[in-house]
């Protein structure tokens, strides 16, 4: 958890509006490495990731290719939401084994 938080904190210090393309590329590379880990282990950090992605999108230096990379990361996050919904629906359909009696 600490490593994930430190990684995100290091990104937060880099995403100023004046960030260059090189810096943005570095941030995206770090996100690509951490997003799967954060989704799997540290759900509480997902909003920070989405905020970083939103900040990068608003940067005037960002290229279409970089936007594609951010889209891919957001798609991973959305897929995780979809998986949670699908599991909830499946659990709803199954007999409730969680009830106390």
């Amino acid at each position: 958890m600490t490593a994930a938080i430190q990684a995100l904190l290091s990104l937060l210090s880099l995403i100023a509006p004046s960030a260059t393309q090189q810096v943005i590329a570095g941030v995206i590379t770090t996100l690509e490495a951490w997003v799967p880990v954060i989704i799997k282990e540290y759900q509480d950090l997902v909003p920070i990731v989405t905020n970083i992605i939103a900040a990068l999108r608003a940067n005037g230096e960002i290229t279409p290719a970089m936007l594609d990379q951010l889209d891919a990361q957001e798609a991973i996050i959305d897929a995780d939401f979809d998986a949670a919904e699908a599991k909830a629906e499946a659990d709803d359909a199954a007999p409730n084994t969680n009830a106390t009696s």
Binding site: N51, D78, E85, D92, N98
Partner: protein
Amino acid sequence: MKKILPALALVTLLSGCAALQNLTNDVKTAYQVVTTSAVTPTQADVAINVFDGVKKTTTNYLRLPICGKLPCRQSAATIPIKKAISAGTLARNDIKAFLRANPGANLNIQSVSDLQNATSALQAIIKAYNIN
């Protein structure tokens, strides 16, 4: 006195008409704002951010086991959450696509209203099911 009462009634009626007219004008103005106003990219980003927040909250709720032990979730909330998240995600992605294709351009307010409606629906679910 008999002449004053109808006059008073008429004045009341007229003032009521004036109030009604003002209300009508207000509604017209609000309608014009809704139908003609544009949404800036920054405002759209805020709407997206709010939606993503409630989406995250309600999805976390769906990760809980069905009630029986605590913490738990009400299965009746699953479909409403899913519908609102699906509609909102679709609207959010449309807005993002527009912003990407038209950097800096304002959006028509109608294009953001679907996202706001989905956000409102999720906020209502959060309140109804006491999700936090």
